[in-house]
Amino acid sequence: MNTFLEDFYKTMKRIRTFEERVSELFIKGETAGSMLHLSIGEELGPTCISKAMNDNDTFTTHHRGHGIFLARGGDPNKMMAEIAGKKDGYCKGKGGSMHIADMSVGHLGANAIVGGGIPTVVGAGMSYKYFSKPSISVAFFGDGALQQGILYESMNMAALWDLPVVFCCINNQYGMGTKIDKAVAVKDFTGRAKSFGLNACSVNTLDVEEAYYKIKPIIDDARSGKPGFIEIECYRFYGHARMDKSPYRDIDEEKLYRERDPIKFAKKKLIDKNILSKDNIDKLDNEISNEMDEAISFAINASLNDTNEIFKDVYSNKNPESIKTRIKKIIGN
């Protein structure tokens, strides 16, 4: 059992360090814009769920999805380059932080539309069922998406058709500046999921191992055709996007919740249980730090796209004509 914890710690630490570097990249003025949604403080959920998933499983994420992607095998270099809007990024710099994807690790795409990527996993689940593949597909989304009707349509379809699908809500208590209390009357979201016929569980702990054992059965059941819903309660340590300082939040609340840190908790547990020494952890942290520094360098040094890239990938078999060309055809060169 304890062997997991080292892994878990490493995953969570990599996520956090990556996000810190994204922040640095932003400060250096090297990111493509400021619509960057960091998941610092929210590392537990993606980590334990990712661990419960198999290699051929797939997933979609919301706009705050770096952590999930990393946990599932995303390459920090290509991620960082994408966030920088560079040619060597995952999506040639055309998708950016909010629309990043990697089909090779089953990342069917991040989505900047709250709830937009949820029905995708229903369709993926239909495929796996149709082809009798042992895969599942997991939709990650925030608590805000609990108020998007498409979630309930999708839950209903998944339950109706016994699809290998999991809906995973990373409930960080806020949708931008709106606290969850101001968005819903009833905070037991498992009740919603169950009423549509899903397995459901909610996890509120700092202990990633405990969380893992709680959510694992939901994932396993999904694989055998009983779709599930998982809520991970956590807290968004910093602002909504890179420019937001969360003036709408109580400072004491922020302080309190930032103490509730799953990474600190795991570190302590590793030491207390004599799994890793402090030194070993420092070494690991250092490795991670170097890895992520490299990602920054990679992103900064990566080359910009040729503007002709604008016209590629709209269709599989043709590129749209540029407006300039169209105009030339009308009034000449």
Binding site: G116, I118, G123
Partner: protein
Amino acid sequence: MSDIEKDYFEEITYRDALRLAMHDEMNENKNVIIMGEDVAKYGGAYGATKGLLDIFGENRVIDTPISEPSIIGASVGAAMTGLKPIAELMYVDFFGMSLDQIANQAAKIRYMFGGQTSVPMVLRAQGGTGRSGGAQHSQSLESWIMHIPGLYLVMPSKPCDAYHLLRKSIQLDDPVVFLEHKMLYNSKGSLDKKNIDAEFGKASIRLEGNDITIISYSRMVNIAEEAAIELKKSNINAEVIDLRSLNPLDKENIIKSVKKNKRALVVSEGHYTSSVASEITSIIFEHCFGDLLKPVIRYTAEDTPVPVAPNLEKESIPSMENIVNFSKKLME
């Protein structure tokens, strides 16, 4: 479902042509599935999928709950993971609630993800007036779709094109919005499965003529043809162009014909403003500037919601008589 073995039909309905196209593709490619409201047991609100459940079973012809955004969203996910879904949206009017999945997801996924994946799906829907369905069941919303890069847009008027273009749509690696017209399902024409004239972006010249070019698509092509026949009586030879697909659009043949005839009328059942008709009108003016003897006229549905009362509904869209009148006026 009889006649599935035949390759040539002297006369077949538009509905049956669609059904055969789906049948033949499903036969050849086991990854093709159909999903939508009442497409299986009921056979589709307009009957286009009737009989397919019996042949292909409920794993491939799937009745869904009434959840349009998720039907289309699930098709997107299915398309990204190996299936070839044909989703049916019962009325184009339901684009209103589902355009996020059509225009923000299906249309943009390939682009946003840098070409990593495709969304090879077909979204079939039907629109138009003729059944007193009122403002929420009679629209022609192709302009919304045509405006969005990333979506093929196909609107055939004849059974043979419906057959071949639907098959090609299913074979394509991109999302296709395939729009039928509620008053076309019972219309008839021939179908030769072996003789494929239809291609995306290739208009068909339904009638040749040297006096005026009438450009149209979907049901309005049939009205334009009637008008052309009527115009012959006054010695006016209209060339009737059936666009068949709006994206890609056959600019070349539009321009060629109008350069020849120097007069053009664009006919569409959509609204007038900021529309497919505005687009075609612009293209003609831009490229035939100098050639035109008269301004291009766009003749469309009124810029009002569609009323239910049959007399009003009929008056709110283009008529054969007025196509004739406007054409004559342009010939003066």
